[in-house]
């Protein structure tokens, strides 16, 4: 199986490292999805083991964390979901918090890197960086089109290069956000060390769209601080766009016309959902005494946008989700299910997937032969991929909701909310998740894993399966609708 790879460098020079490198290449090339699943599963198992240690738990004499809570937290950390079954601010020791801090970064960067590697493996001709850049560029000749029949060799060196790009960009953005947050945390009376820790934790938690809180009160402690909340929103927003869009914004922010259709589609849909969500929360909750009822109009307006931002995948909240009206919970469900941008740390079916569905319906209504957006024709096969992703998501959410409802007999408002939050790695919770029995926590963990790894690998797995067919069957048309 490795003959052609080995042949290139000659069998005599084959070292232990070379063998590992070859095995890696073979795995990535032969089944990129299995590779991604393996990487995530390994990271989760290591994190679970470390978090189970008594050393990871705060206080002495408590013993270790129960396996289901350690496992749940590990999945939630590596999948950057942000759902919790223990109090993140008080349950873990400094060692445990360090594991979680590193886990969020590894998980966030892992998703970004894997999404790009998988995207590369199933495409042709482009180098890794070029691939990442390509989606941010408008030159159609540089963008892959049509079914893929060959696979691109991915060398460990290339992956390393990509990891460095992603890591440096991620850490740079996180550092800027952290520095910006420092004055706000210091102003709350924390000493310099704790302020640094809280700021760093919040910056990482926000940009990776995790949503864990390091302080006992959570973001509510900064409810009066527009600056701090705005930084959270900015970090979550950037993280949820994905690097193809971030790079386009950084490189060509002066000339939006040069942005690729992916960038324009992601930004348009994200902003449309952001505004629609905020308006919905404003209309539905303005007179709810438990949420925005007692706030000024400006504050209600601002918090509605904060809430809408966090449904993208951030998962921070300044109000109790359980206090929302059922109507707002349902609106949140829909926004969470859609999630953020492709190749980002956000989850869900992704904004471009939703956009493609609506572009298809719009093209159908106009009777146009092809989907179009921003003066570009969208290839037809994208619709089939989008439908597959939505069916996958809907199936996971449906099965998980039925199981959790049957186990707990809880109200659908809360079960659907927490399940979609898990699937879309959002992390907002009505409080149901932490009250689940162990078997329910395992179901939720499986939902988080399938929501995270599934949506990242599914598109790649499906695209990689493209093959030619040598005969055409007779065509026949069923009636639909």
């Amino acid at each position: 199986m490795t003959s052609n790879t080995v042949g290139r460098r000659g069998p005599a020079r084959r070292s232990w490292l070379g063998g590992l490198r070859d095995a890696f290449d073979v795995l990535v090339k032969s089944s990129p999805s299995r590779f991604a699943i393996l990487v995530f599963a390994t990271l989760i198992l290591i994190t679970t083991a470390l978090l189970s240690l008594p050393l990871a738990r705060a206080g002495s004499g408590n013993g270790g964390t129960p396996l289901y809570d350690a496992f749940f937290t590990a999945v939630s950390t590596i999948c950057v979901t942000g759902l919790t079954t223990v109090d993140m601010a008080t349950h873990w020791s400094p060692f445990g918090n360090t594991i979680i801090f590193i886990g969020m970064n590894v998980g966030g960067m892992g998703v970004l890197t894997l999404a790009s590697i998988l995207g590369l493996v199933v495409s042709r001709r482009l180098g890794l960086r070029a691939k990442l850049m390509a989606a941010s560029d408008t030159n159609p000749s540089r963008v892959h089109a049509g079914p893929v029949s060959e696979r691109q060799a991915v060398r460990l060196g290339e992956v390393g290069g990509l990891l460095v790009t992603v890591a440096v960009s991620t850490l740079a953005i996180e550092a800027v956000v952290m520095i910006g947050m420092m004055p706000s945390v210091l102003a709350k009376g924390y000493d310099f060390g704790l302020s640094l820790w809280y700021s760093a934790y919040y910056a990482v938690s926000a940009f990776t769209n995790t949503g864990f809180n390091p302080n006992p009160l959570g973001p509510v402690e900064f409810f009066d601080d527009y600056w701090f909340q705005s930084l959270m929103m900015l970090a979550v927003f950037l993280g949820s766009l994905g690097f193809p869009v971030i790079f386009a914004l950084l490189r060509t922010w002066k000339s939006p016309r040069r942005w690729g259709v992916h960038v324009k589609l992601t930004l348009t849909t994200t902003i449309a959902l952001w505004v629609a969500g905020a308006v919905a929360f404003l209309v539905l909750e303005y007179n709810n005494p438990k949420t925005y009822g007692g706030l000024s109009f400006v504050k209600t307006f601002y918090e509605a946008f904060f809430m809408s931002t966090m449904t993208r995948s951030g998962g921070f909240s300044t109000i109790e989700m359980a206090d929302l009206y059922g109507s707002s919970l349902l609106v949140t469900d829909m926004l969470m299910f859609v999630g953020g941008g492709s190749a980002s740390t956000a989850g869900g079916i992704k904004v471009t997937t939703l956009a493609v569905l609506f572009l298809a319906a719009y093209a159908e209504a106009r009777g146009a032969p092809a989907m179009e957006a921003f003066g570009r024709r969208i290839p037809r096969d994208i619709l089939r991929l989008a439908v597959s992703v939505v069916l996958w998501g809907a199936t996971i959410v449906a099965v998980s909701t039925v199981i959790i409802t049957q186990i707990t007999k809880s109200a659908l408002d809360f079960v659907l909310f927490d399940v979609i939050s898990a699937f879309a790695t959002c992390g907002l919770s009505t409080g149901l998740t932490e009250s689940l029995p162990p078997e329910g926590k395992y179901v939720m963990a499986a939902t988080m894993f399938m929501g995270r790894v599934g949506t990242v690998t599914l598109a790649a797995a499906l695209a990689a399966a493209q093959k030619r067919q040598l005969f055409r069957r007779p065509e026949e048309r069923p009636i639909v609708g």
Copy 2:
């Protein structure tokens, strides 16, 4: 606008009837969807007016039925939904019941006829009967394929012929079911006249997939009668398949190989959903003391299949929906949303629409260039139509659920159930609908109307909009999933 039509017969021969015929032709041809909406709206307004009369209400001195209840019942009758805000067995006078009895038949036949007319208007070459038959036949050359650019003239005479075919078939099936039901009703001690009325009402209510009950106890009165319940299931099942499938079964039941892809796809998906639904109800409810907990295994098994049948669009129930576990309510939601066959009296997005989505995902997973089913290639543009229908349905359900939840602050389990039941014209209810305030009843009525008329007209409206484009835009590929 009518020049070519008039020209054919010469202006001198133009009579009053001819003018009406021409106006009818123009309306059907120029906007078949608007024509369908007009027909349904007119039928609903007439029924509302008649049901509002004091004459239509049982008992004397009660005055008329409130407008919102008369309107709701009219919509529910004409749209063959079966949701109620009054007790159907006791609220109406014989006159009111006659209106409803006729309304169910008119509504059921109206849907069947309109679906076929609309199908014809947007297709070419085929006569009305041929068109109806075509979908039941396997000969691909007789089936329309590809985008439609011309429109077919539909003459009043042709519509009349179709109406006769549909009406005769409908009344024949209903008569057989009615005769079969008579012994069961007589056995309950009702006199001959009332037994005839109940049997006729149940036969019509079942075959048109309405779900109204004429007797105060409803189908529960026949809970020990396997024969009666089986007849209900058969009538609902046949009605939900649609005439293209019924005709195929009647004409070529001995040679299933000759069935068209539409027939095979409808039957396969319907049976798969039927069995899956029954298994789900069996597993989730077997130990629910309020539903199947106290029943024997055989009875539980049978009732699970009865329940599963009724989610297709029948809407009869032998248990209280509000007693189901939340998990079963959610399973029912999904089954109702899918609904029955195309060009049938059932509602929902239709089984073939769901099948096309899964065929697309399956083709994507296999990397096949085209969707395939039963050795036939399914045209690509069908997927776009299916996606449009699902988006339409999801949007109606979402908006309606948010509004009803906000108005009533009821639990999502119940609101989602009744809203999907309304959209999919199923008629099962948790009891929420009849407790709604007037404005909630109007929202539900609108949901029923859009679910019924929308899904019938949407496909036609979209298919009719097909047009050619003379230029091709450059292609560019966004990232999805």
